[in-house]
Amino acid sequence: MNDETGLPLTPSQTVGPYFTLGLTPEKHESGLGPLITNEIRGEGEPITIHGKVFDGAGEPVNDAMLEIIQADGNGRLDAPGFTGFARAGTGDAVDNSYRFTTVKPGPLGKGEAPYICMIVFMRGMLLHTFTRIYFADEAANANDPVFIRLPEHRRESLLARHVESVDAVSYEFNVHMQGDRETVFFKLPHPIAD
């Protein structure tokens, strides 16, 4: 499908600085309660994932919005009652970090490593972008069909690191928008052939 034969797409615009009002409203006293939270519940090992988003000057971004999408611990996307989707902003914590509470995903298929998809939005981004969170402590990364095809020096940018924590097993994953440590961002496969 292309622009000649299909309906033309609605263009993207930035999420802007005020998305918390509608998209992560749990901090607001009045009005809507949260519909999508920073928590995913399902079968699997409870983990937390936290980190920061850094702009091209290396400064942490305080108005980024991150969404994660993942399988449960058994590698299932469609387990009954399971919605592997969560959303968090970076503006609520004093250090501008985001935080998700979830379960460690299982691999979708044999020979694949487990990973979490992440969508990155922020004021200043006119179009969102996609990345993946792999886990540094997974031996399966060495065989993952996507991970091993990335340029070697860029793989590091997709690895969440296990960090000591008093509560659940905790991983740190930072997003770098530009520069030497720039996170690998992906263009998604399109279901309609070009």
């Binding site: 600085p17 009005g31 702009d55 996307l77 179009l127 928008m177 720039e182 998604l188």
Partner: protein
């Protein structure tokens, strides 16, 4: 960044919109499909997940004139904003979560980061959400948002707009955008609007619709949203919900 599909969207970096300079990715995204021809990445989480129909907004969530009242009605011109979410083939997209947020009639957001010296409306939150019906239709009641200044450049004002977030079935259809109003003189001076390729800009402007307009009550605006992808793919095999 090549390819026709991108032609609808703004570039990651648009220097007239100053904060894009340090915030857009520095490198082109890596194409997941071309990365792994042997293992079709269409089997990955990105295209395997099905999100339509998963979210259940509350009964009044779609009505911004009622969902945050504190003993009174919000001030401003009442609007009905409605339209359809469609895929690229023109199929309606049912079960899609549409979330909106906006300034109040005076051009003020109920947000700690908004420093504009305009009054807050105690009866208006400025956020709503609903799910599209079987025909892909969504419908909100709200208040005409005001224009407001921002600090991108000297005397910069955002045209009146409503932010939209759309979560359809697959991640390729994920969209965040802004809906503008016809005839707004500020559109010609807004770098966020102008970041969109010229030919695609009009798709962000709602159409006044007398049919949606409710006599003696609210003006109607129609705004259709076309998202990437198609419902008519093999993913429908497990998309029926049975």
């Amino acid at each position: 960044m090549s390819g026709k599909r991108r032609s609808a969207h703004p570039p990651y970096t648009y220097p007239d919109y100053k904060s894009s300079i340090l915030r857009g990715p520095g490198r082109d995204p890596i194409d997941l499909d071309r990365l792994d021809a042997k293992h079709p990445s269409s089997m990955g989480v990105e295209s395997g997940v099905l999100l339509a129909g998963r979210f259940r907004p509350g009964e009044l969530d779609h009505d911004l004139t009622r969902n945050a009242r504190r003993g009174g009605e919000p001030l401003g011109e009442r609007l009905v904003v409605s339209g359809r979410v469609l895929d690229e083939c023109g199929n309606p997209a049912p079960g899609v979560l549409v979330e909106i947020w906006q300034a109040n009639a005076a051009g003020r957001y109920l947000h700690k980061a908004d420093e504009h010296d305009a009054p807050v409306d105690p009866n208006f939150l400025g956020a709503g959400r609903c799910v599209t019906d079987r025909e892909g239709c969504y419908r909100f009641c709200t208040i005409q948002p005001g224009a407001y200044p921002w600090k991108n450049h000297h005397n910069a004002w955002r045209p009146r707009h409503i932010h939209f977030s759309v979560i359809g079935d697959s991640l390729v259809s994920r969209l965040v955008t802004q809906m503008y109003f016809p005839g707004d003189p500020l559109l010609d001076f807004d770098p966020i609007f102008e970041s969109v390729p010229d030919a695609a800009r009009s798709r962000l402007i709602a159409r006044f619709d007398l049919g949606l307009t409710q006599p003696e009550f609210a003006l109607g605006y129609h705004f259709d949203i076309v998202v990437a992808g198609s419902g008519a793919t093999p993913r429908d095999n497990h998309g029926s919900g049975k």
